[in-house]
Amino acid sequence: MNLSDVKNKLPAENIVAGEDEGMARAIGGVVASDLMSDVLVSAKEDCLLVTSLASEQMIRTADLVGAVGVLVVNGKPLPPSLVSLARSLAMPLLRTRMPKYETCLALAKAGCAEQGEGA
């Protein structure tokens, strides 16, 4: 399961692709949260960050925890500064119109594993 699969199955639009293979990196788990501290604590390497908070700090947080990408739910408008930060940090950015809960269900159904043990 990688970001390209997520994009096709939800569906989601791909705003920033990141590096060449950014969309192809395997997703190691999913963290759905709008709180930076929660993300910092619970996110594992290579997780997909699902959030309804369209802020630059979410991109930074994702970068700091080594997430594979950020998926913004509810079709939230993305400020240009957020998109350009994602680009400069090579952080893949996707957006879906689905609400957060439905997004998580769809991700699970599509085969996205929950986070590894202990999360």
Binding site: L40, L53, S55, Q57, L64, V65, L89
Partner: protein, 310 residues
């Protein structure tokens, strides 16, 4: 007109500015293709032109040859003596101080200091009118070039490569500057990744640095974040100028926060900041005084630290 122009003497100016004013020819700064009147035109025509184009000094020229300049002062005298219908030739200033386009900008700045004029006509190598130079032209050019220089220097600072893992850097945090907030932690993380530090360790460092950095942005009136990296350890020192923590025990309690709804709407203020830092750090020190400020020190060992927590 020249009042307020800074002292651009070589001794007191930064090198890049000195280089700029000595190496830039007036040609690159002046307004080229100047509007001019002919000698036989009336002062009324000159006045119309000056009003219409919002210019305060109008060259009098024919086929490129400069004969004089009509200034606001000339115009006032003509209006007072009711001679607006007379030709320009009779009222213009004819002893005109000029500059040449190949001269360096430093020469022009010296001229503005020496003469009480707001503008100088600029001649080309064949002594033909090539442009007009005003203080505004100089200001606009200098500001534009300084902006470019500063931007270049800033990007050099950001991407300054370091040969080894050892690294020291101080970042400044400003209250509620969510745009810049996080940049310091990102830079630290990048440095550690570039030097192949283990991912679990990087993550612990990133958590501590980011929580401390955002604490300063969210809660303090401003402060500094210092990183000190050696092969053995990463030291993070966060010092702010206040307001200080009222109750240290509460501050260390998970879930306790003093953040308002706005901060929470940005995804901060979960009351996990300091506890998170303490959890990932091998050494943790917190000191705070109301009205003075807060100092937090966190150390993550790269050699023999705790392996859990992240």
């Amino acid at each position: 007109m020249n009042r307020g122009l800074p002292d651009l003497s070589v001794e007191r100016s930064p090198l890049s500015l000195v280089e700029m004013i000595y190496s830039t020819p007036i040609r690159e700064v002046m307004t080229g293709d100047p509007i001019a009147v002919r000698r036989s035109e009336t002062m009324r025509a000159a006045q119309e032109l000056m009003r219409e184009k919002s210019i305060s000094g109008l060259p009098v020229a024919e086929d490129g040859r400069l004969y004089g300049i009509v200034s606001i002062h000339d115009l006032i005298l003509t209006i007072q003596s009711d001679q607006l219908d007379q030709p320009v030739e009779r009222h213009m200033t004819d002893h005109v101080v000029t500059l040449e386009e190949a001269m360096p900008l430093s020469m022009a700045i010296a001229y503005f200091g020496k003469y009480p004029f707001g503008r100088f006509p600029v001649l080309d190598a064949r002594q033909r009118l090539a442009g007009i130079l005003t203080v505004r032209d100089i200001n606009v050019t200098l500001i534009d070039r300084l902006m470019r220089d500063v931007t270049r220097y800033e990007s050099m600072l950001e991407s300054e490569p370091l040969p080894g893992l050892a690294f020291t850097r101080v970042f400044h945090a400003r209250r509620h500057d969510f745009e810049q907030g996080g940049k310091a932690s990102t830079a630290l993380k990048r440095h550690l990744s570039d030097h192949r530090v283990r991912r679990e360790l990087i993550k612990r460092v990133a958590i501590a640095a980011y929580e401390l950095e955002m604490n300063q942005v969210v809660h303090s009136i401003g402060g500094t974040l210092s990183f000190d990296v050696s092969p053995e350890r990463v030291g993070i020192l966060a010092q702010d100028r206040g307001p200080g923590i009222a109750d240290m025990d509460l501050a260390m309690t998970e879930g306790y926060t003093t953040a308002d709804d706005w901060i929470k709407s940005l995804g901060f203020g979960a009351g996990l900041g300091l506890p998170n830092v303490k959890r990932v750090a091998d050494e943790f020190y917190l000191h705070s005084e109301l009205g003075i400020g807060t100092t937090v020190k966190a150390v993550i060992r790269l050699d023999t630290g705790k392996e859990n927590g992240a």
